[in-house]
Amino acid sequence: MILTRQDVEKIAHLARLSITEQEMPVYVTSLSSIVNFVDELSRAQTGDVLPMAHPLDGQHQRVRADVVTESDHHDKYQTNAPAVTAGLYVVPRVIE
């Protein structure tokens, strides 16, 4: 295997994903086969080719006038939140 169990545990932690004991061996195998597959890219002669992040050349970030265009909808948006108190999102205690 290209990736070890420890590698996958580290990746899962970086990605903030809990992975069950049952899932772990499956991911070790399948992620290894994906990494092996994408390793094909190393054969490509890319010399001084510029990396391409965006499919349309010549595009630039648009700017708009500095005026308020959005109204406040936080009540509506928070109807989808798992836990809200007084308009605030509730999470487990972060600061002791």
Binding site: L3, V8, I11, A12, H13, L14, A15, R16, L17, S18, I19, T20, E23, V26, Y27, S30, L31, S33, I34, V35, F37, V38, D39, E40, L41, S42, A44, T46, V49, L50, P51, M52, A53, H54, P55, L56, Q59, Q61, R62, R64, H73, K76, Y77, Q78, T79, N80, A81, P82, A83, Y89, V91, P92, R93, V94
Partner: protein, 484 residues
């Protein structure tokens, strides 16, 4: 029967008041109720809202308003946010998410007077090529219900093939419109990157995602694209380029059109599929087009390139699902880290987690240059190949998929084999090009798709070429048995 009529025919009957939008809507809702249980093409049906939309359209028609889509029913892929309607993206993560606003695609189609019948099933977060990764179960192919419909827009494709609506929306990040269109025998159109707004379309890979349409003809797709396309200030990569009159371009003669046959697309293609594509070339030559062979030497690297770029972007995009502001939250988290990890671990399915982890790996310290940066460089090589080809030809042509539909369950255990289904479609996404798949025959009684890809903003030419093919052939009029 009403469900076999094309959009222009329906619009004519509506405008002459021979039928009402309400009657049309009831007709499709009845079909869905009767026939959908065998296909599972929907995540959410919105029958009540549909009848309200239809009543509103009928009121407008009664006042003399007219429009090419006024009163026409449609189905939205469940990746588009619909105000007040559950928008799940095929995921447990968003099973309880009611979108608080409309995607621009939804807004534009609403303004045109369409009637939304429901939200279609899809691969979870649009990650899949078979519609088997949906939290809501697989979609079945109406041509053979033991087969997949393709993915990720499998529900929209199956629903269009089954005549549940005249058209449906979809999204295409690596082939998710064209591949399922091919596997279900319908017309699937993916516009140029940036042509249609991505606002309110749940993000997978932002440099590749593009919204498009499933219909039963190129002419129908042209009518829908006319409404969907256009600049949107709410999408930072939306392009401010005028939208031509697509329906007006359909009838242009193909005399002198230069079509490039993609050599790499025929290497390893099964003989029966290859021969169907060769037959389409004869049709094009009889219509006055010239066919020449072109080569895209870097194209064989498109799948590995995609499976670095798309997961990298997905791992960033999906970090927004944190169990805090919306979406699934785990029970009794002990601390914030536990809340993040278990909410995401429980909310996402196996393939989504695999892609997030692939993306996290290729972006992580020590691997970024070898994978992500390298893939971005190869992406440019592939794009340059297309550019060189389009200096010689107007459009390129080839099969949409290596094989017709495969059996449900056949490829679920091997992600790399599944990824190779998109080998012919991914190139257009990497280069941001428009593409269309149209039905061109059958192998083992399953539909086969012909793919046309054009330069940036060549939508009108692609629709023209697809329409002329459909004027000369009958493949797009074939309906699956039991859905005629």
């Amino acid at each position: 029967m009403l469900h076999n009529l094309f959009i222009a025919e329906l619009a004519e009957r509506l405008s002459k008041r021979q039928i009402s939008s309400t009657e049309l809507t009831r007709h499709f809702l009845d079909r869905i109720e009767r026939l959908n249980p065998a296909l599972n093409a929907f995540i959410t049906l919105t029958a009540e809202g549909a009848l309200q939309d239809a009543a509103a359209a009928d009121l407008k028609l009664g006042k003399g308003e007219r429009g090419p889509l006024l009163g026409i029913p449609l189905i939205h892929k469940d990746i588009f946010c619909t105000d007040g309607v559950r928008t799940s993206c095929g995921s447990r993560m968003l099973d309880n998410f009611v979108a608080p606003y409309d995607a621009t695609v939804v807004t534009r189609l609403k303004a045109a007077g369409t009637v939304m019948l429901g939200k279609s099933n899809m691969d979870e977060f649009a990650m899949g090529s078979s519609n088997e990764t949906s939290f809501y179960g697989p979609v079945r192919n109406p041509w053979d219900t033991s087969m997949v419909p393709g993915g990720s827009s499998g529900g929209s494709a199956a629903a269009t093939a089954a005549r549940f609506a005249p058209f449906a929306t979809g999204t295409d990040t690596g082939g998710s419109i064209r591949q399922p269109a091919a596997l279900t025998g319908v017309t699937g159109f993916k516009p140029t990157y940036g042509r249609v707004s991505r606002y309110g379309m749940i993000a997978f890979a932002s440099s590749l995602d593009q919204a498009g349409v499933f219909a039963r003809s190129a002419a129908d797709a042209a009518a829908v694209l006319q409404v969907m396309a256009g600049f949107d200030p709410k999408d930072s990569t939306s392009v401010d380029v005028p939208v031509p009159d697509y329906p007006a371009a359909l009838e242009a003669p193909l005399q002198g059109l230069k079509i490039g046959l993609l050599r790499e697309f025929f290497e390893g293609l099964e003989a029966r599929n290859a021969s169907l594509i060769q037959d389409t070339l004869k049709v094009y030559r009889s219509l006055g087009a010239e066919t020449v062979e072109v080569s895209l030497p870097s194209l064989p690297l498109s799948v590995p390139t995609y499976y670095v770029v798309a997961p990298a972007e997905c791992s960033s995009n999906l970090s927004r699902f944190d169990g805090v502001r919306f979406g699934h939250r785990c029970q009794n988290p002990v601390d914030l880290m536990d809340l993040y990890k278990r909410s995401r671990g429980e909310g996402f399915g196996a393939e989504v987690k695999r892609r997030i982890m692939t993306g996290t790996y290729v972006l992580s310290a020590g691997y970024f240059d070898a994978y992500y940066l390298k893939a971005q460089k190869v992406r440019r090589l592939i794009t340059d190949d297309f550019r060189a080809a389009f200096a010689k030809v107007d459009l390129v042509i080839g099969p949409t998929t290596p094989t017709p539909a495969f059996a449900i369950g056949a490829k679920v255990d091997d992600p790399v084999t599944m990824y190779l289904n998109d080998i012919y479609t991914i190139g257009a996404n990497l280069a941001g090009l428009p593409g269309v798949s149209v039905p061109c025959g059958f192998v083992d009684e399953l539909p086969v798709g012909l793919q046309l890809v054009g330069p940036h903003f060549a939508e009108a030419k692609l629709l023209n070429a697809a329409h002329q093919f459909q004027q000369a052939t009958e493949w797009h009029k074939q309906a699956p048995g039991g859905y005629e």
